[in-house]
Every structure is written in C-alpha cells, then in structure tokens.
Symmetry: C2
Subunit: 458 residues, 2 copies
C-alpha cells in the first residue's frame, strides 16, 4: 500500500490527492497544511471583502471531514512540516495547536507549498492594525472585519497586478477612495504598457489615484497604526488602511532544504509528470515550474487554473496514470468594473525577450454589431511569429465578450494555430452574441495579409 | 481585364466582390440583385421588428453608391437575371423599374442567389394583409408597420427554428401572445429532442403556446385577411397575425437552368474554391453546398458566417488567390429571452445517421463559481467518437457564457480535438468569468474517463 503525503491543501495539493484516490482506492493519503482554511477559492477573496460574495464561508466549502468522508484522505490543518529526510523518506511534523512534534513517512511526497507573498522593504516587520494582506481566507476576513468596524475613507493599495486591482475595484465600490502605488511605470505587469494605459485611463475615470513608478520608502507607525507613507517621489500620504498586493514568489524554502532543484524561473524544476530531481518527490501548484505550450520555455505562472491542472496530472502520475503536462499559455483575466482585461501567451516584451521576430497587430472591434444597443468596443493586440506564422500571444481589453475572444485564441494557440487558421474558425453568430466575422477572424485575416506583405518585402 | 458578374448582393455576393476588388484593382465587377435592400444584416430583422434595434435603416448601412465609391463595384438593385448562356458567357438582365431588358457578359460568374423561403401548403397562394414573412428587410418593415398601425394581441408563428423563435421572443416582449406551430415533435430542428425540451419548458414558462407535431391544414381568409387557422389536430385558432418562418431551401432555379450540378444536400456542388461543374461559374452563400470540418461530408447550413466565409474565399479564388475552403461545423446560436441556445458539429441524430459509434455526455455546469451571485447553470451535451476519440458535436443551453463554451469547443473541433485534449486547454479564469475548471475541461475529463472505460470493456 503506497503512502502518499501531500504538503499544502489549497488548489493543487487537494486536486492531486483526490485524483490519486480516484485512481488508487488502496493508497494511504495524508495532506498537511499550516493554515486553518483549506481548499479555498483564493480568487474569491476580493469579492467577499466587497460583499459581492455573501460571506467568506462560501469560499471554503470543504473541510477535512469532507475529504475523509468522500475520499478517505487524512487532511491535517494547522500542521507544519519542520523537516524532511528524503533518504529515509520521513517528515518531522509539528501540530501547531498542541505543539506536539511527530514523525511521518512517505512513499511518495508531493510538495504543494504554494507561493509566499512579497512584502516591500518599507513594510518589512511592520505590525499595524490597518495593514492588510490578501494571502488567504483569514487575511480577507481580517480586512472585512476592520472595514465593518471602522469608517474607512481612504486606502492605499500597494501593487497593481490582478489582486491589487480586484481589491481596488471592491474598495471603490464600498465608497473608499483608493490610491494605488505601482513600482513600475504601468499597472498590470503581465501586459504591455500600451495596453495597460487603457486600463489606467479607465481607472482614473473611476476616480482612482495612480502613483506610477512610485514606491513607498517609509512607513510611519504610531501605536501599532500606520499614520503615514513617504514615497521616493517625495510625496506623503495618509491612507486609513494599507493593503499589500505586491506579488508572490514560489515558496521553495522546504524544497530547497532537501536539495530539490529549482528551475530558471525560481520555482521547482519538474518534468511533465511533476517529478523533481529527488526520487519519489513531486511538486505542483504555485511552487512548481511550468512550461510554455508555444515553445517549451520554462514559465512560472501562479494561477489557479494551472495549479489545478498540475494537481490532477501529478495525482494521476503518482498512481500509475498516463497523464502528462502539455504546458500552459498563462491565460488570465481580470474584471475591473465594466472593463474586462485578459491575455494569453506572450506579450510584446516577452516575445522580444524570447528573441522572436514577430508582427504586432492592434485593432479595435465590437463584440456585437454596431446596430445592437449593447455593442461595445474591444482593443486587441495580437502577435504572430514572422517565421512560422504562429500566434504567439494576445491581449484584449474591452467590455462584454472579451473573455470569449481570449479563450478562443487560447484554444487555437493550444493547437498551434497560425494566423491564417483563425479566419477558418466556425464561431457562433447571432447579432445578440457576435459580429458576422468575429474579432478573432478579423485579426487572423489582417495578420495573414501583413505576413504575406512581409514575405513579398512590401 | 476580367469581367466578374455576381448574382446576389446580400452577404456572400458582396463579400466576394469586395475581396475580388482588393486582390485585383483592374477587374470590372458588377453585382445584380432583384431586391432594393442589399448587403443587409438579415439576422437583425427580428430585433428591428421588436425595436431592440432602433430602425431598419441600421440594418442596411451600405448602398450601391458605397460599393461604387469604396470598391469601384457596379451594384445594380432591382435587376433580375432572366437567363444565362453559359457557353457564350452572357446574361439576359431585366431592369425591374423600367422593364428594360439587356445583355451582359462575364468572364467569371458568381451565383449568390441565396435561399428561398418555404411556404407551407396551407399558406400557398394566400395573399392576406396579416400574413408575414421574415425573408428580407422589406418584409421586416411591412410587419413592423402593421404592428404599429394595429392593436395586435395574438400571433401565430409557423416554424420554430431560430428565426421563428427570435420573432417569438420579440413579439412576446411587445406584449403579443404567441402561438407556435411546429410540424415536428420538437422545436429547434438542429438540436436533439432532449435538448430542445429544455427550451420548450422555458418557452411555456414565458407564456408561449407550443403546438408541437401540429400543422396548419387550412387557412380561412376573408376580404384579404386571415380570420382562422385549422390544424391536423382538429384545432381552430384565430390569431391576429400569422408569421411564416418555416425554413429555407437553396434557391437553385437559375443555376439548374444552365446545368449547374447540385450536391446531395440539394445545394450547388462546389469544390474548395467554390467552382461549380461549369467553367468560370462559381457559387457561394445559401445557394451553395459546404462540407464538414469533421469528416468532409457535404453539409448545407444557410448561415451568415458560412456565407461570409464562402464569399471571401471565392472572391480570392476568382482573382488568383490561394484561399481554400476548409469546411464548417455549422456552429449556431440563438438568444431566447435569458436563455442561450447553441450548437456545433453533429447532433446525436446526425451522428447516428452518419454511422458513428460514439459516446454521449450530458452534464450540467455553472458558468462561474456557485458562490458568485450571477452563477447560472448550463446543460451541455457532447459527443465523442469511440474510435478516434474526436469531439463530434456539442449542444449547450443555459444562461451567460454559453456562447463562450460553444466557441471554445468549435475552435477545438476545427483543430480536430480529441476528448483528452480539452482538459489541457488553458482558459482564462477569474470568479467573475469562469469556474477554475471550465465546463469544457470537465466535459473533456469525463468523456476521457468514459472512453477509457469503453476500451477496458467496463
């Protein structure tokens, strides 16, 4: 009987464990997690803070009993792994609530230790009642409680990636004036600057203040309360609360302690069955590296979709299944008020860094015909490789229907679509849902013409 | 200098002509059409009748002057082709407004004569002021005028395909009680009965009366006004107005008159460059046959998307381009109040008729997580070939996001997706737009498991 131990019980770890159980009714499966909340919908936290989701409990529908009853999995929360001996295949585990330390062993170990949250220098070691993170359900609850008990008028959000902007949206809807601090010149680091500018203009129209290329250099704390922020632009701010959303990094401490090798992205290097360099040690989720569907290049994208995919494949691989990872595009999406912001594959800056010679098409199309009352414009930026004509990436910002176009492009790209393939897609048309020629088809037509001109040297 | 003559100026004909012009600045291009309105958005007609589109003029944004100025195309409306001599390559044309008849010649002829509208036997030769068609902009205008001038309380809609249901939706929203007559046992002929039933239940909840497997056998007319309908079920109805939406057939009369061969579907047989059996004679749009992306089988799907695709490819082919038709899936979609109804590829009955040995999966999934307030359920019915594991078809009925899933499936199917490919798609997730594992991924996972069980003989 195989003994499988999983470290980490959010998305990837629990998915791997349940897949392993479905494949192998006999295996002994244990999951350890330091946290209280497990298997939670981390992406739902901003919406619970803003009351769009009724309460935080809805984000944690499953508890250890559920895993025991449905999958015969022992899920132990508030248990920290102190050390691993990869030769003896043992773990030293501490039950945080009792302080008891015990030893467990594994035949197969799965590291799903997730990501750790970046804390900007000016906030290191700061403990203040009005300083918040968005790292797990508990941190969301703390913020929501504070908002309920205090009359908050202004908030500083540090970091303008997806989580920062989702929190900004929700706080704004609660009537709070948000000031964003972004270290780089543009918000939305996984977009090109020209596309991010569309969202920046929109954010300002919504009354949100953007401090771009501006970092907090000093945090003034009085009686455990932040009373002011100084920045590298010589500015001084006095927000009622501060929310840190400054990005994440793979939480590789435990892995590194036993000699698990990291890849070029800084996450754990794995093969397409999520095996690490150590025998019987696997890694999945935000702590593990992935690779690009486009060219196999290592990628690290801490996304729930990727974590789930990894978990299922690893759970299968650990129990004799044949699933193999085929890579990712890093497809992602953000709702920002009425704006939808989405991307897949490489951005222009990423494609440049990867050494591609490519065409860029930026065009504007409507989601449905102009004559329909709900017609909205979207801006599409699409990259095609001059050599292979393959679509390398797309960024779309607009209203309704952006999610559909990014998913159509992501699907096509998974099948290695060339620019000239897009026109041939047979998509669903009615004036209520699309234009006769969908924006993706137009994009393919124009890119095809431009690639032909390139070949002719026009 | 090539002389290109196009017969028909709605979707396919005008698309072909403009593509031909872009490829060949020298060609002489003439389009003839019997109608007054040209290049119109035929699918928008129900929405203009129901005032969702402000007025009918928005559906006819282009006139002959536009084609002359922008494309140097001579577009002659109200011109009927009386005869074609395919040996001499001449046409006999009648200018309907003056009665003048003249001869034109062509180097290349494109037949884009569209579809003709089916008239059920009981309505043959009936001329009544309260009997309407939905065949072109003019027929839409006539219905709208009548509705504006009379207090209409009840309507009979004959035929419950997309057009019939779109009209039903709009009339219901105008406060008119609609009675649908459908000859077959279910509405939505391009869906399987079990899926159509979902829409039938919904229609009845909206207060719409469905007379299924019921045909009008006698139309009672008094003073040019329909006063009653008798049916084969022995029922008698007295609707204020009657709308015929009983389907269409390829309008092949002119083609047949010169010996153009038809395919097995009854539409004009063409190759992948839309050439007919006659030299220099091409055919596109609703009058021409297409073929399935899945297996090359001839298909006739009178859809605007297909017509546009055909037009572009034919316009390219007629002017020395290299575009070739890659086939269609017949992907289509209908908004019916808050319900979205969509399909792509083969239905169960079609797959059976085509001799496939396949699995059918019917499942229910939400568009976004349960915890999001706008979460809605959709029912998916998906077919996978037992031999090749390829996805053969899908039907989806539900709320928001159905259009996205059908387009993702259609895109995957265009690239010959197998069931096991779907799980690997990297789609855009955020709780505002999707579940962590999209319904399409789930569908792929379950079908993969079921196909594996089949192989094992479980």
């Amino acid at each position: 009987m195989t003994k499988i131990v999983v470290i980490g019980a959010v998305a990837a770890g629990t998915t791997a464990a349940t897949k392993a159980r479905r494949n192998d009714p006999e295996a002994e499966i244990t999951i350890y997690d330091r946290d209280i909340d497990i298997s939670y919908a981390i992406c739902g936290i901003p919406y619970a803070v803003g009351h769009e989701v009724a309460n935080f409990d809805q984000l944690t529908p499953r508890d250890p009993q559920w895993f025991k009853q449905n999958y015969q999995i022992d899920l132990k929360t508030r248990h920290e792994i102190l050390a691993i001996d990869s030769n003896k295949q043992t773990l030293q585990v501490k039950a945080l609530d009792t302080g008891a330390v015990f030893t467990d062993h594994y035949d197969l170990l799965l590291l799903a230790t997730g990501a750790r949250y970046g804390i900007p220098t000016a906030f290191k070691d700061i403990d203040a009642d009005n300083l918040f993170h968005v790292r797990n359900v508990q941190s969301g609850r703390e913020l929501a409680s504070y908002l309920a008990l205090h009359s908050i008028k202004t908030a500083a959000v540090v970091g303008a990636g997806y989580v920062g902007l989702e929190m900004t949206e929700q706080l704004t809807k609660l009537g709070i004036q948000v000031q964003i601090f972004q270290r780089s010149a543009h918000i939305l680091g996984n977009f090109d600057g020209d596309m991010a500018e569309i969202a920046e203009t929109y954010a300002r129209q919504k009354g949100i203040s953007l401090a771009l290329a501006e970092t907090v250099t000093k945090t003034q704390v009085q009686n455990g309360h932040i009373i002011g922020l100084d920045t590298n632009q010589g500015q001084h701010y006095q927000p009622d609360i501060v929310i840190l959303a400054a990005g994440v990094k793979p939480n590789t401490r435990l892995a590194e302690s036993i000699g698990v090798k990291l890849g070029t992205t800084g996450a754990i290097a794995v093969n397409d069955r999520f095996q690490t360099n150590l025998p019987n040690v696997y890694a999945v989720g935000d702590v593990a590296e992935s690779f690009s569907v486009i060219d196999g290049r290592p990628l690290w994208k801490p996304l729930a979709t990727t974590a789930n995919k990894m978990g299922r494949i690893a759970g299968d691989a650990m129990t004799g299944g044949s699933l193999r990872h085929r890579g990712i595009l890093g497809t992602s999406i953000l709702r920002f008020f009425d704006l939808t912001i989405a991307q897949t594959g490489y951005t222009e800056k990423e494609a440049q860094a990867a050494g591609y010679d490519f065409l860029v098409l930026k065009d504007k199309k409507t989601n449905v015909p102009d004559y329909m009352p709900k017609s909205q414009t979207m801006t599409l930026k699409t990259l095609a490789d001059k050599k292979t004509h393959r679509i390398l990436g797309a960024q779309i910002i607009g209203g309704a229907g952006v999610d559909k176009r990014i998913d159509v492009l992501a699907t096509a790209m998974t099948f290695k679509a060339k620019a000239e393939d897009l026109f041939h897609l047979d998509l669903a048309y009615s004036p209520a849902f699309d234009t006769t020629k969908d924006a993706v088809l137009y994009t393919g037509m124009i890119l095809t013409d431009q690639l032909a001109s390139e070949t002719k040297g026009v």
